[in-house]
Amino acid sequence: MSINPHFHHTNEQINEELIIIEAAKQNPERFGPLYNKYYKQIFNYLYQRMDDKDTAFDLTGQVFLKALTNLPNYQFKGVPFASWLYRIAHNELMQMFRLQKDRRAINADIGDLKYICEEHEEPFFEEYIPAIKKLLSELDEEDMQMVEFRFFEKRPFKEIAEILDITEVNAKVRMYRIIEKLKKSMSKLKV
């Protein structure tokens, strides 16, 4: 599985970010480069999981305000700063969904669904779409998040683990179980 270059950082990029973070810890005005760099990514992440774009924009602002407020507590753990932002975004989302479940939406491209089939060595036909949709909708929230992270957004396990605040091994195990679950369900598609 290829990794989405959006979520991959070279050591140089990570170091560059660290310098900005340290500066922004002293002076919030210096947070600008990180805000500009990740605004679109965070918005897309949030909007990908809901239907209302205005709410997504509001929530994006909320995420960055929280990030700025908590920046002095930020500690580098070997993953890009974005992972920390995604975790804040994830927590914000979960908090909102706890209160307003109906806001949750799943957004995927046909390509993503095709990709899921391919990953499970199953052929993809457009007629399968409703069945796949149904199948995915039946997944519980945690599993669905993993699918979104891994199949729709193609994030590395290390980053998924960071966002969900679990270990990388745990993330892999969870993913393995989901794949097994999906395999079973997808085999039914042939029937």
Binding site: I19, I20, E22, A23, K25, Q26, N27, P28, E29, R30, F31, G32, P33, Y35, N36, Y39, K40, F43, N44, Y47, D51, K53, F57, T60, G61, F64, L65, L68, T69, K101, D102, R104, A105, I106, N107, A108, D109, I110, L113, I129, K133, L136, S137, E138, M144
Partner: protein
């Protein structure tokens, strides 16, 4: 409840996302949130404070009652209270001043020079920069307005460039009716007066004249006084640069340098003195001595004597024929019938002389040796002297002719030989003199070259001395700015500049050596074009605004360390449109004022 499932939902455009992207709004929200938090904390503190205040107030009341009971002297009490208030106010003022004027580093101090002046006599203080402080008689009073008796200590220091200004910690911001400016200084000074550690004040009707030496002779500057209570510069009046005094000074400096003059400078050169001695004394002496030696040598060469030719008698001239031997005169000895003809020069000759039988006749050498003779005739007491010439006739004449021819030949050979020897000696002398002359010429050339070299060196040295003098005297040579001050404090000759309107960035400073981020405590930015120093404030987010076409240097102070982003480094960042400024740490030991000035390239 199952979530809604969308397939291929239209994407939000980048433009729309960008529209919602507003970092300034985020920072505003963040600041507001921080402010609210602080208010909340403060209100909590306040409530605590109220409780504590009540306790303190209670204790104070008890103490005061006890105090009043013990000491009933009201006057003393009031006085003490007054003193306490004065001290507190003073302390407060000092603190506020300290905060307002905050030196960024203890190592970059601009030190005060201390002078003493007698209040009753007054006088003039000459500062090393050639600034002058003129103090009239009885100018100082104490805090009660009483004339100071005795000496007053004047502490004085000047600030002339960006390094001095940064080191002083004196803010150069100027707020005029709400418009913010940064002041470009043509010279600033800080003056204090005290006696035994107690401050003194300038008397109401007196002014102290400060003639500030300035590097800038422009007349676009104003005079300002730093009001440390209002925390702003107060305009005094238009400043006038007095260049006349300065020109005199420059001339004086120049004259001092010229005092010795190039000729004296050249004359003092030991090398040139040696050369001059060789040219004027040593070599001419050698040439002369050669001449003397060879003249002597030539003289020593034997000189041939030309043989005398004995001729036949002149018709009509009287002659004497003498008997006797001429052994004394070998040239005459060979002849038998020799006669002597009386020369026409003998005015004493008389015919009668032939009639007298002379008792004694003597022939001796005549005035022309070998040619004529002196004939002395004596008879009793009569003595006659005649110059006579020997003449021959007959066989004697032929014989004499032959002998003469032979002798003359010998003589000619001798003369030729002598001439050859003389010529040889002359050639030898000339050859030796030629060597000395060549040496003399070389020495003369060397002398001229050395002289020119020394003159050039003198000129260059003079130029250097002048430049150095201009620089060392700092500003004295360019203009004098006269301040009539009626109180001690900080005064400045300034020209206000508006804030730059070019590019604004929130800079990050990265150490060139370690690659680590430097979080500044204080930032100063120097605009080399306008010669202004910007103190970049933290409360404004440490933002800098610069004109891309100008040269800047940034100084970052962090935990007693000084980092500098040089002109080139600044330019490199500005050209890249980056906000990451590379800085070099000013090494330990180099963090003094003079090294700081070098590092700032001013």
């Amino acid at each position: 409840m199952e979530p809604k499932f969308n397939i291929d939902r239209p994407k939000i455009s980048d433009e729309e996302i960008k529209k919602h992207q507003n970092f300034e709004q985020l920072v505003k929200q963040f600041k507001q949130q921080s402010l609210n938090k602080a208010r909340h904390d403060k209100s909590w503190w306040k409530s605590k404070k109220v409780r504590y205040s009540a306790v303190i107030a209670g204790i104070t009341v008890i103490c005061t009652i006890s105090y009043l009971t013990l000491f009933k002297n009201e006057t003393t009490q009031n006085k003490t209270h007054e003193t306490l208030i004065t001290q507190d106010t003073k302390k407060e003022n000092t603190n506020s001043k300290k905060n307002f004027i905050s030196e960024p580093s203890q190592k970059l101090k601009v030190n005060y020079t201390t002078y003493t002046i007698n209040n009753a006599k007054g006088g003039e203080i000459k500062h090393p920069t050639s600034s002058k402080i003129k103090v009239p008689k009885n100018s100082f009073v104490d805090k009660n307005g009483k004339d100071i008796i005795g000496d007053v200590t004047i502490e004085y220091r000047e600030f002339h460039d960006a390094a001095d200004i940064i080191a002083s910690g004196i803010p150069m911001n100027y707020d005029s009716a709400g418009t913010k400016y940064t002041l470009e200084s043509a010279g600033m000074f800080d003056i204090k007066g005290s006696q035994n550690g107690e401050p003194v004040y300038i008397k109401k009707d007196k002014t102290v004249e400060v003639q500030l030496a300035s590097a800038n002779s422009d007349d676009r500057f104003n005079q300002y006084y730093l009001d440390t209570v209002a925390k702003n510069w107060q305009y005094i009046q238009k400043d006038n640069a007095n260049t006349f005094l300065d020109n005199n000074h420059a001339k004086k400096e120049f004259d001092n340098n010229q005092k010795d003059g190039p000729d004296n400078f050249v004359k003092k050169s030991p090398k040139l003195q040696i050369l001059k001695n060789e040219i004027e004394v040593v070599i001419p002496k050698r040439i002369d001595s050669v001449k003397i030696v060879y003249t002597k040598k030539i003289d020593a060469v034997p000189k041939p004597k030309e043989p005398s030719k004995i001729s036949k008698p002149t018709p009509g001239r009287p002659t004497f024929k003498l008997d006797g031997s001429y052994s004394e005169f070998p040239e005459l000895a060979a002849f038998n019938d020799i006669i002597f003809e009386v020369g026409p020069e003998n005015n004493n000759y008389r015919k009668e002389m032939h009639e007298i039988t002379w008792s004694d006749v003597k022939v001796s050498e005549g005035p022309i040796k070998g040619k004529n003779y002196l004939l002395t005739l004596t008879y009793r007491k009569q003595i006659e002297k005649l110059i006579v010439y020997p003449v021959l006739s007959g066989n004697d004449l032929e014989k004499a002719e032959k002998k003469y021819q032979q002798k003359f030949k010998e003589y000619e050979g001798f003369v030729e030989k002598r001439n050859a020897e003389e010529k040889r000696l002359m050639a030898e002398m000339e050859a030796k003199q030629k060597v000395y002359m060549a040496n003399l010429k070389k020495k003369q050339d060397d002398y001229e070259k050395e002289r020119v070299k020394l003159l050039v060196a003198f000129k260059q040295n003079e130029q250097k001395q002048l430049e150095s003098s201009f620089n060392n005297m700092s500003m004295a040579t360019k203009a004098t700015r006269i301040f009539n001050i009626s109180s001690f404090g900080i005064y400045n000759s300034d020209s206000p500049h508006g804030q730059p309107s070019g590019k604004t960035v929130t800079p990050m400073f990265v150490s060139n050596e370690k690659g680590t981020l430097i979080n500044p405590d204080i930032i100063y930015m120097i605009d080399h074009k306008t010669k202004t120093v910007y103190n970049i404030a933290f409360n404004e987010g440490f933002k800098i605004t610069y004109e891309p076409q100008n040269d800047y240097t940034i100084c970052v102070f962090r935990q007693n360390k000084l980092y500098i982003c040089s002109k080139n480094m600044f330019k490199a960042t500005a050209n890249k449109n980056s906000d990451k400024f590379t800085v070099n740490e000013l090494a330990e030991g180099s963090d003094n004022l003079s090294e700081f000035k070098k590092a700032l390239e001013i």
